[in-house]
């Protein structure tokens, strides 16, 4: 009972800490976007803008008020669930972002579904057969993939599979998906590009975690009890490496957030990252703010989740 109370307290502390971080992030996002050069009035009115027209527009958008006043207005809105209205399209930014967020989550989800098992399998087998030809081949390959930036991978993929071979469409359009075939055609290049970035990193980190565990006395003991390699990995090693592995996965997936910006731009995929890139170009600050907030919240969510898994896996054995 007291154990459970302690566990709940620890969980609340973790969640509380990440909520505090979220508050700091929110403040940071506002002030960083506030110091971005240029403003929406210039961008909207373009070259032909008269100074009067610009200042009138700035007034109507509250842009002539001091930064702190604007911050208070913005935060008051946030607290009432009002994330603001796009300065360009005049639609609520929350609706715009959430519709795009679903697309991005789909892309990230498919990538994770594909990349995480591949990386764990590669890292684990490399650790089991360490210092063999197989291990070295995996090491070399993953090192090469990690070193190539994703925009180059994406561009090369488009060049080879779309321009030269005409196998896949260069643009990943979500409205064209009607069948599994068209889904694969649209998604294979963006997903592979994103996976390249994280599989390399994740498999190398998995290998290190696994080698550490496989070198332990309790693994030798399991071998001497007559356990098979599969039994040793599943029954003995996995329960011990869940926490570090989950950390590896969470870190890699949060890295996905950065990769998605480039991949969505290259393939013109209608996700939240390309929305953010467009909104920055248009100086549509409320939209930039909500996109940035969503990215930060996703990152916080992943790392907090990893902490919770680590807490639960250590708690289980202390509870007995």
């Amino acid at each position: 009972m007291t154990m459970n109370a302690a566990l709940i307290r620890a969980l609340l502390r973790l969640v509380g800490a990440s909520l505090v971080s979220l508050v700091f992030v929110t403040v940071a996002v506002f002030f960083i976007t506030a110091v971005l050069p240029g403003d929406v009035a210039d961008a909207l009115l373009g070259q032909a803008a008269t100074p009067d027209a610009v200042s009138a527009l700035r007034h109507s958008l509250n842009l002539d008020k001091p930064v702190l006043v604007r911050f208070v207005i913005w935060v008051t809105g946030l607290l009432h669930g009002d994330f603001g209205v796009s300065l360009v399209s005049h639609r609520p930014v929350l609706a715009m972002a959430s519709e795009r967020l679903i697309h991005s989550l789909l892309l990230a989800g498919v990538t994770a579904l594909f990349a995480v098992p591949v990386a764990l399998l590669l890292g684990t087998t490399a650790a089991i057969f360490r210092n063999t030809l197989f291990d070295r081949a995996v090491s070399l390959l993953t090192l090469c993939i990690v070193s190539v930036p994703e925009f180059l991978v994406a561009t090369l993929a488009v060049f080879i599979f779309s321009v030269q071979l005409h196998l896949l469409p260069a643009l990943a359009s979500i409205s064209d998906i009607h069948s599994i075939g068209s889904f694969l055609a649209s998604f294979s290049m963006p997903v592979t590009t994103l996976a390249c970035v994280i599989v390399g990193q994740m498999s190398r980190m998995t290998r290190a975690v696994m080698i550490d565990a496989l070198g332990s006395s309790w693994v030798e003991m399991a071998v001497l009890k007559g356990a098979s390699p599969a039994h040793i990995i599943l029954r003995h090693v996995i329960p011990n490496v869940i926490a570090p592995l989950f950390n590896v996965i969470a870190l890699s997936l949060s890295y996905l957030l950065g990769g998605v910006v480039i991949v969505e731009s290259v393939f013109h995929y209608p996700g939240i990252a390309s929305l953010m890139v467009d909104s920055v170009a248009a100086r549509d600050i409320p939209l930039v703010q909500i996109c940035a907030l969503i990215f930060c919240a996703a990152y916080l969510f992943l790392t907090t989740l990893a902490d919770i898994v680590a807490l639960l896996s250590s708690q289980r054995r202390h509870a007995a």
Binding site: S217, W218, V223
Partner: protein, 607 residues
């Protein structure tokens, strides 16, 4: 013995001309074991004796068809219980290990999976090899737990390895090995990491299960006294070659080979110390004076004492040029005391003076002279010496740090002091042997020209022969340089051979403080006596005697009423406790021989 009968049965284990090789990284393959042959008859217990690096563990693992990473079985024949171990494919080996032959590792704390409950691991061999259904395996495990006198055998399996002591885990591991009823059990130094007092319980548990279960055994160890208790025959290994083979009695009483004789000599206690006479004369200022030191954690309570104490009012005056020994089992606070003196462990109350001046708790606040004159030599030289710095550079750093001349001659002099050739200055720690590393570790401390050297279990990780040489060196340095030593150990032999005075610590209390001359004369604190009786002796019936003595003594003791109170720290384990022991702090009195004993009983009671 049966093997000498007319109808001699074939041996259960037969090893012929075994060759094991190993390589480091991409280096050349070098032999670890070369041409080892021996037989073990059914129900016999064979000891494999040797120092570290003798290849004894490699031979034991080879019996299971297993070689560690980088090693391999390069040749020879191994037959175990009718199986040709070297010829078996992996799948057959798997069904052989854990079922026909089982292994008990040295460090049970590391050999149990920290993330799984113990029962799951104990019954795992039985389930892996489909020997019996789960429920039957659990019942058998509980039966074995009872047999080995584990506390609460019915529920101990639900715990995790970090919740139990080393001695308990070692017995659980024996249960894990025996769960399938194997024909052969390998014991790989199973009690080396344990305190002597715990070792007795574990050895007795092993003997009980052997009597009940009747397996054939191979017992790997470097401790000849343990061999005397456990084994019928012994094989002595050195550098992977058999030196001598015979019955335990013959090996221990009439060793033929020079190496076995050297091993025996190193195991036999001897006095290396010429006692210092200046102790307690009253006119000499102690070089180190620890007064009523209290160390704890968890914050300070309303009474000004820490919530959890590690050291309670420990006092310890060390005279110039003497060797002060501190002994106690693991967890008694001896390392904490050393750390407090060294300035890396803050204390709650009490104080320490060094050469008459108060020592600040934090080393940063101590004067340069204090830091220089008080040096620490840690247990594990591997962890202390920077592997990327040559021996010469390590010593040079200490010299320049203290503003001394750091030329080649000075470094040569330091190495000569610890009996190492000056050519060693260019070598790096990983290239040195364990004994050489510990000598460099000592030279590093001596480079500061200390008045007092704190030695934390400096021989614990070394082989007996090497450890004996280090103790000899300590005593030579004491005579030549007049250094005082504070020597922390759990090895009573080592303590006897080098110390002038001894403090016995139990649960953070100094229960006895005695000149070495009084150590041989009664009376003593019950815990000191228990420590003395726990040191294994090289006669075969020692363990039987100790156990029967213990069982006799355990009857008239009154039961403990309160769990923890103000009483004597040793009351819970004391065989001669009386009612007052639980409620009152024992007084300190001086025995006729000069020992300060903290006990409610009188000199006559304890004699």
């Amino acid at each position: 013995m049966a093997r000498h009968g007319i109808m001699q049965p074939p041996p259960l284990i037969s090893v012929q001309n075994l060759q094991l090789t190993g390589r480091r990284g991409r280096g050349l393959e070098t032999p670890i074991v070369d041409g080892v042959s021996f037989d073990v008859a059914e129900k016999e217990m064979l000891a494999l004796i040797g120092e570290s690096g003798s290849g004894k563990t490699s031979v034991a693992l080879a019996l299971m068809g297993y070689a560690r990473r980088g090693c391999r079985i390069a040749g020879g024949k191994i037959r175990v219980a009718g199986y040709d171990v070297t010829e078996m494919p992996p799948a057959e080996l798997r069904s052989f290990r854990g079922k026909t032959i089982a292994y008990i590792a040295q460090n049970a704390g590391a050999a149990f999976n920290p993330a799984l409950p113990l029962m799951d691991q104990v019954i795992e061999p039985a389930l892996l090899h489909h020997v019996m259904p789960r429920q039957v395996a659990i019942e058998r495990a509980i039966f074995l737990f009872e047999l080995m006198a584990l506390p609460s055998p019915g529920t101990i399996g639900a715990r995790y390895s970090h919740e139990l002591s080393g001695g308990q885990l070692q017995r659980l591991m024996a249960a894990m090995a025996l769960i399938t009823g194997p024909e052969v059990v390998i014991f790989d130094e199973p009690t080396t990491a344990l305190d002597v007092t715990t070792q007795i319980e574990v050895l007795e548990a092993f003997r009980t299960v052997r009597r009940e279960e009747g397996f054939t055994g191979v017992y790997v160890t470097h401790d000849l006294a343990v061999v005397a208790q456990m084994a019928d025959r012994a094989v002595v290994l050195k550098n992977g070659v058999v030196q001598e083979e015979g019955t335990t009695e013959q090996i221990l009483s009439a060793p033929r080979h020079a190496y076995t004789q050297a091993l025996l000599a190193a195991n036999t206690p001897q006095v290396r110390n010429a006692p210092t006479q200046a102790t307690d004369s009253g006119t000499v200022v102690p070089v180190l004076d620890v007064r009523d030191l209290v160390v704890g954690y968890g914050g300070t309570g309303p009474d000004g004492r820490p919530r959890h104490t590690i050291l309670s009012d420990v006092s310890l005056p060390v005279m110039p040029g003497e060797t002060m020994g501190i002994i106690g089992e693991s967890g008694c606070g001896k390392s904490t005391l050393i750390r407090a003196i060294a300035g890396i462990q803050p204390w709650t109350s009490g104080g320490i003076t060094f050469e008459g001046e108060a020592l600040a708790p934090r080393i940063e606040a101590r004067s340069a002279a204090q830091r220089r004159h008080l040096q620490l030599v840690a247990q594990n030289a591997d962890l202390v010496l920077n592997p990327a710095m040559s021996v010469g550079d390590t010593l040079r750093r200490v010299l320049t740090f203290n503003g001394d001349a750091a030329n080649g001659a000075e470094i040569g002099r330091l190495l000569d002091m610890v009996r190492l050739p000056s050519a060693l200055a260019d070598r790096f720690p990983p290239e040195l042997s364990g004994g050489q590393k510990q000598r460099v570790n000592l030279a590093r401390a001596l480079a500061a020209r200390p008045r007092l050297v704190l030695c934390d279990e400096i021989t614990a990780a070394l082989d007996t022969v090497v450890a004996a040489a280090i103790l000899d060196l300590m005593m030579e340095l004491k005579r030549e340089l007049g250094i005082a030593w504070l020597f922390v150990t759990h090895d009573l032999h080592a303590l006897r051979s080098v110390c002038d005075r001894v403090a016995v610590l139990y649960a953070g209390h100094r229960v006895e403080f005695t000149p070495i001359s009084a150590l041989e004369e009664a009376p003593h604190h019950p815990y000191t006596r228990r420590l003395e009786n726990s040191v294994p002796e090289m006669r075969a019936d020692w363990l039987t005697d100790v156990i029967s003595l213990r069982d006799q003594g355990s009857e008239p003791v009154p039961a403990l009423s309160s769990s923890r109170g103000a009483g004597c720290c040793y009351a819970a384990r004391c065989p001669v406790r009386i009612a007052i022991c639980e409620v009152a702090t024992p007084p300190v009195w001086r025995s006729p021989a000069g020992a300060l004993i903290s006990c409610h009983l009188t000199s006559q009671d304890l004699s």
